[in-house]
């Protein structure tokens, strides 16, 4: 009954409409027809005539909360994204290319990071970006680091090779160009568990910004490139691949086969998220972590990112945070913060993004926490912009608490 006959998966929909109830966009923007209409219902109409494709589908965040809610296992988010890929007549413009090519922009920016950071932060520059390019002036681009994470880890190669157990780290663009500290924290934690961290041969951006900005051919090329690297690491070198970003990890595991038709069934189970990988090691009892004594107490509020919800793995991050003696944990209701990667950067989406996240921001402020923790970098940007709280990755909190 629940057969997943790929393209006809939409026929499993029994119109219960629970997906639309859980859709963060439909709740705040009446112009979006909602996942049921845009997904299974719309797919049926588009099969009749592709003229039924509606550009309003680009309002979908691809948060996949509809898929989590669906009791019939319909891949609603995939159906919507696939329809955009197939039918959208509006090609990517300059803005889409700017936002999508995180890899290229990052590698250009990091050598001149101080200058770039200063320039994009300037008010006149922001106004130009807003008016000419269409990137909302409220947004600040994440700061670029002076030097990449890859460069740093390459210098540590010798030390990392000494560990008996090895993994490959899919750091993603954000760690590489913007926040190498998270990567360093990850290496610290892994080393404390007796595991060495290696880079993949030549990791490229997972492709999620390319997919959501309509650069699908490039996304597929990068996906194929990355999958070959993952396969090399997992099968040839027997090294599982671990990532700290929920969205990168989710993309490597699920978006590749579902949206880019890249078969990864043989390696999918060996692509893991950092908190889950670490939790499982600790749970097995093979190794123990030693925490600082008398570290000052911190009140942490955990935010479940959308793709974390889809992976179903928030439990691991939460459990890990609970192990840290100095952390007093509050768990925020799982809801979308509104940014959805590059979505919230676009001028026309700004009001929707902020309306979606509004209740979350208010709950964060009311929670009395010192810091918010989440596994997603774009949620971090959104929450830091929209609240008074700093946002720290669970791995960084863990690293900080280690002896």
């Amino acid at each position: 009954m629940m057969t997943e006959h790929s393209e006809f998966n939409f026929e499993q929909c029994i119109k219960c409409t629970v997906c639309t109830v859980y859709c963060p966009v439909a709740a705040v923007n009446p112009l979006f027809p909602g996942p049921k209409q845009a997904g299974p219902d719309g797919e049926r109409l588009r099969l009749k005539d592709k003229g039924f494709f509606d550009e309003s589908l680009k309002m979908c965040l691809n948060c996949k909360r509809c898929e989590v809610a669906c009791p019939s296992n319909v891949r609603i988010g995939d159906i919507i994204q696939a329809a955009r890929i197939k039918h959208s007549r509006k090609g990517p413009g300059l803005r889409e290319r700017l936002l999508a090519n995180t890899d290229f922009i990052g590698s250009m920016a990091t050598p001149f990071a101080p200058l770039v950071n200063m320039t994009v932060g300037l008010k006149p520059v922001k106004m130009v970006m807003d008016k000419v390019v269409g990137i909302d002036h409220h947004r600040t681009f994440p700061r670029y680091a002076f030097g990449t994470f890859e460069g740093w880890l390459k210098r540590k190669r010798k030390k990392q090779s000494k560990f008996a157990r090895q993994i490959s780290y899919f750091h993603g663009c954000y760690v590489n160009y913007n926040n190498p500290q998270l990567g360093k924290d990850f290496v610290k934690v892994m080393n404390a568990l007796g595991i060495g961290v290696q880079l993949l041969e030549k990791e490229k951006c997972c492709g999620v910004p390319l997919i959501s900005n309509g650069l699908i051919d490039k996304a597929r090329r990068q996906g194929e490139h990355n999958t070959a690297l993952l396969r090399q690491s997992i099968i040839e070198n027997n090294r599982p691949v671990v990532g700290t970003s929920t969205t990168c990890t989710f993309t490597l595991r699920d978006e590749y086969p579902h949206l880019l038709s890249i078969d990864n069934a043989d390696i999918r189970d060996k692509i893991d998220l950092a908190t889950r990988y670490i939790y499982r090691i600790l749970e097995s009892g093979e190794v123990q972590l030693h925490f600082k004594k008398n570290a000052p107490q911190r009140r942490v509020a955990y935010h479940t990112a959308c793709h974390m919800e889809k992976l179903g793995w928030a439990y691991y991050s939460i459990a890990l945070l609970k192990m840290i003696p100095s952390v007093e944990l509050t768990i925020l209701d799982s809801q979308c913060c509104g940014i959805a990667g590059t979505y919230g950067f676009k001028k026309e989406n700004y009001p929707t993004a902020q309306a979606i996240g509004d209740t979350l921001f208010r709950k964060i402020e009311a929670s009395g926490c010192d810091v918010v923790s989440t596994d997603c970098e774009t949620c971090k940007w959104q929450i830091e912009m929209s609240t008074s709280k700093p946002v720290v990755h669970p791995i960084s909190l863990l690293a900080e608490a280690l002896e």
Binding site: M1, T3, H5, F8, F10, E11, Q12, C13, I14, K15, C16, T17, P33, K36, Q37, D41, G42, E43, R44, L45, L47, K48, D49, G51, F52, F53, D54, E55, S56, S72
Partner: protein, 536 residues
């Protein structure tokens, strides 16, 4: 109560509607009487195939020629009812290629374009077709929506002075010696009897014409032949797929609006069953087994429902045994045939030739009434088909894509009568088929809708995958608001509608179809407290 018109037409199928339009365009005052809703008989219960005639080319040259002529006319006059999909006749290994050459020759002889194409090209044209085919011929088949076609004919008939009475059943004929002078009808809602008089009464009752003729005192021997079909949940194919062999069971797969249809079976049924057609498990098996040979993906495509219609086959007058039947048009002037004046029977034929049947009938009526006017139905476009869809689409650009395209598909330029000016009228009643409040109100006000089932035939409410789950109660609410009925009747109508939907789902109630019907039951029975006493 007595009323007098020139012509009374009995039967609200495509033929009756066509006669009403033809009469109206020739200035003849007509009244159409239908015991239920329009297009409820064979008109609404077939493939909706716009035959190119190719299917009959080898076996019945005359029908083939009629088909291709009418095919070309309908493309022009009824463009909003027609989908110009083209068709393929595929030869499978088990069929061999022998038939193909003869088939192509016969098509061409009948004036039907028939091009043999490479199986690979055929697969590019229609990717769902069986890749094992060894040959393919492309013909100008298409799809036609019988409900829209009948509705459009009646709209035009009424605009030109015709009257339509649905839910009026002929109880008796008014006979004066050797002349039929009218009918006695029963209003099915009030039970009131009325006498209606006319110079000529036309029997266009389809299979029910057999009994009507008997009531009038003449014999028209008909043979009810049941044909069953399956509706799939979405459009599997965009080109009609046929088998290139002698016509047989389940060898046509037609895309129609949002769905695809496979059919048909063929079996004789007794007259006492024609009012309650059902589809048997054997028929479902046969349709699926043969259907997957046309398009293998049917094996794992959701089936929405099954239904059956009754073909009104007519026994030739010179063969009382009924063995020799004609699928051609049968026009009987009972004055010359039986000595009964004022009575005409038009039957046989098929949906494809409804217009020609109407033309012949109206020609005969004109002759009898001594009116010298030419038939114009082959030239004058039907309401809805008078403007290009692209232009309508541009004019309505402010309406969301899905609602806009759906309503234009269904009503063509009659969309101008649909109010979608504000958000309330643009909001959806039926989510699967994108039927808006405005469209439902238009149907209620202008298209002779008496209940939810009628509304479905005008708008596709309840024809989508949910089969009434979300739309039925909304539509019933609008009907009650519009004063069509009280809340008690609304509840009864809802139950009737859902039972009618269930009747079609029952023969294929497995998998997602069963899951969804169960969910519908929870909603209506469990939450709304609607009891389905009549549920089978």
């Amino acid at each position: 109560m007595t009323r007098e018109v020139d012509v009374i037409i009995i039967g609200g199928g495509a033929t009756g509607a066509g006669v009403a339009r033809d009469c109206a365009l020739r200035g003849i005052k007509s009244l159409l009487i239908e015991r239920g809703d329009i297009a409820t008989g064979a008109t609404g219960r077939n493939h909706g195939l716009l035959h190119s005639g190719a299917r009959y080319a080898v076996t019945d040259r005359e029908s083939a020629e009629e088909c291709i002529k009418e095919n070309m006319i309908l493309r022009r006059i009824a463009s909003h009812c027609v989908e110009q999909t083209d068709g393929l006749f595929i030869s499978l290994p088990e069929d061999g290629l022998e038939f193909q050459a003869k088939f192509i020759d016969s098509c061409r002889a009948a004036g039907i374009r028939a091009d043999a194409i490479d199986p690979k090209e055929a697969l590019l044209l229609e990717p769902s077709a069986n890749p094992e085919m060894i040959g393919a011929v492309r013909v100008p088949d298409g799809a036609v929506d019988p409900f829209r076609l009948t509705t459009a004919n009646l709209i035009d008939a009424k605009l030109n002075g015709a009257e339509v009475l649905t839910y009026h059943k002929v109880e008796d004929f008014i006979r004066n010696q050797n002349r039929i002078e009218g009918v006695v009808v029963r209003d099915m809602h009030t039970n009131e009897l009325k006498e209606l008089r006319a110079q000529i009464v036309v029997n266009a009752g389809g299979i029910w014409g057999h009994d009507l003729a008997a009531k009038a005192g003449v014999t028209v021997k008909m043979l009810p032949a049941k044909g069953s079909l399956l509706i799939f949940g979405h459009r599997v194919n965009n080109v009609v797929i046929n088998r290139c062999r002698k016509p047989a069971d389940a060898d046509i797969l037609v895309p129609g609006d949002t769905i695809s249809l496979i059919g048909t079976t063929s079996s004789k049924v007794p007259f006492n069953e024609v009012d309650n057609m059902y589809v048997t498990a054997d028929e479902v098996d046969l349709l699926l087994r043969e259907g997957t040979k046309l398009a293998p993906s049917l094996a794992h495509t959701r089936i929405l429902r099954a239904y059956a219609g009754v073909r009104p086959l007519v026994a030739s007058d010179d063969d009382p045994s009924g063995r020799s039947v004609s699928r051609g048009i049968v026009l009987l002037d009972h004055a010359t045939r039986d000595g009964l004046e004022g009575f005409i029977t038009i039957t046989g034929g098929k949906l494809m030739t409804y217009r020609l049947m109407a033309e012949w009938t109206t020609d005969l009526i004109c002759k009898k009434l001594n009116i010298k006017k030419k038939c114009k139905t082959a030239e004058l476009k039907l309401p809805g088909s008078r403007q290009k869809e692209e232009r309508l689409s541009k004019r309505l650009h402010t309406i969301p894509t899905a609602q806009r395209e759906s309503v234009i598909n269904r009503h063509g330029d009659m969309v101008e009568r649909v109010n979608m000016g504000d958000a309330a009228h643009r909001s959806l009643v039926c989510e699967c088929e994108e039927v808006t409040v405005g469209e439902v109100k238009y149907a209620l006000n202008e298209l002779d809708v008496r209940n939810l089932v009628d509304l479905r035939r005008r708008t596709r409410v309840g024809m989508g995958t949910c089969q009434g789950e979300l739309c039925a109660c909304r539509a019933a609410g609008i009907m009650a608001e519009a004063g069509k009925y009280c809340s008690q009747r609304a509840k009864q109508d809802l139950a009737d509608f859902l039972n009618e939907r269930w009747k079609g789902m029952a023969p294929v109630a497995w998998g997602d179809t069963l899951r969804e019907s169960q969910f519908t039951t929870w909603l209506y029975d469990g939450i709304c407290g609607l009891k389905n006493e009549k549920k089978i």
